[in-house]
Amino acid sequence: MPPATDKYAELLAAVAKGQESAFAELYQATSPKLFAVAVRILKSREVAEEVLQEAYVKVWEKAGDFNPAIAAPMTWMSAIVRNRALDEVRRRVPKASADESELDNLESDDEHPLVGLERQEDVARLMRCLEGLEPEKRQIVRLAYLDGMSREALAKRFDRPEGTIKTWLHRSLAQLKGCLEQ
């Protein structure tokens, strides 16, 4: 476990007690990653800012519910951000951003160095298991999780009926689960 995970768990415990300085430190350390996660799903910095604001307010309010035995801090916080972002993106018609170049940049992330926010062995295991999927299925899982693509959007992109995409997703997820449990 990298020290960052322990550190964030400590900060969340302090945030649960209402310590504003801990919240500031947690925000400082985690917001660039979580902002990027939201921008990538929402394709809009502006909407991502709104979502991030709501998410951190929720982190502040719900920090007492965080249980390090159940989830890593970034897993817990990223779930809050992603859920808000996904609710938002499913609700609205995505608009093209004014800053496409920056968003394009976000997608070419495969060689991006690991920054140690998650447990490295978990990252390595998931990457290995994703490698075990057929390339097209792996791409679908990544486009869904990281880019917030709906079944409909995936069906269009891969020129398959939605039902097929759903079947692929379920098979891929089942395969991932099996692989991760080994």
Partner: protein, 239 residues
């Protein structure tokens, strides 16, 4: 090959993000009372979260933290103030419509009148206000010092947002070699900073203030780089 059961499949797709809006709502409601579903969701979050490791971090605009802070930490102190601020903004909007294009004096007066209105409903205690005004239109910023709570409050009341730019507030004083930044502030935002009695507060009380337009992250040099849009000084707003 392993198959996912119904609950696990639903949880997996919920976490992956491929459910539609109605399905997401159903899952979000159901998970509160369905322990099996909740457990499956948490397990999928744990499995898939490492994927975000490869997302290139992007620093959010600095003003965002002020917004969050205003909504939470400071809500404890100024929860009523926020409501008052909204009331003031509504009042300011009415005045703005009536005063577009008039002189700075009139505009400044609107700010002070608005502030008096607003301040009358707050706790007693001497307060100072600086109306930072431009040549026309509404005062975009109010800077207030509340001697009772020892807070300096800067609110953006009527500042128009400028694409890819942010306003930064500066303090100028004879004893300072250069303008001192008091932080960046976006439209409709409020910065609250403690000013304990002492030399810092004495300086603040006698300082001039300026607002410049800076790149998103605030001035890169620590000095105003963009145009200075507004200036002003503190005046006593209560007896």
């Amino acid at each position: 090959m392993t198959e996912l059961d119904d609950i696990d499949g639903l949880a997996a797709e919920y976490v992956l993000g491929t459910l539609d809006a109605a399905e997401r709502r159903t899952v979000a409601e159901r998970r509160a009372s369905d322990k099996a579903l909740e457990g499956a969701i948490v397990a999928w979050e744990r499995r898939l979260a490492p994927m975000i490791e490869n997302v290139r971090p992007m620093t959010p605009p600095p003003a965002l933290y002020n917004k969050i802070r205003a909504e939470i930490g400071l809500a404890q102190h100024i929860v009523s103030l926020k409501a008052r601020e909204r009331a003031l903004e509504r009042r300011a909007a009415r005045w703005r419509n009536a005063f577009v294009g008039v002189s700075a004096v009139a505009a400044a007066l609107v700010g002070v009148l608005g502030y008096r209105d607003y301040q009358a409903e707050m706790n007693p205690g001497t307060k100072y206000v600086a109306v930072l005004t431009a040549s026309k239109d509404m005062p975009p910023f109010l800077l207030m010092v509340d001697m009772k709570t020892s807070n300096c409050i800067i609110t953006a009341v009527g500042a128009a947002p400028v694409a890819n730019k942010i306003y930064e507030v500066w303090m100028l004083h004879d004893s300072l070699a250069k303008p001192k930044s008091m932080g960046v502030i976006g439209e409709g935002e409020m910065n609250v900073m403690p000013v304990e009695p002492g030399p810092d507060r004495d300086m603040l009380m006698n300082a001039s203030f300026a607002v410049s337009l800076e790149p998103m992250g605030g001035s890169p040099t620590g000095l105003p780089t963009g145009p200075v849009m507004y200036t002003g000084r503190l005046v006593k707003a209560t007896p």
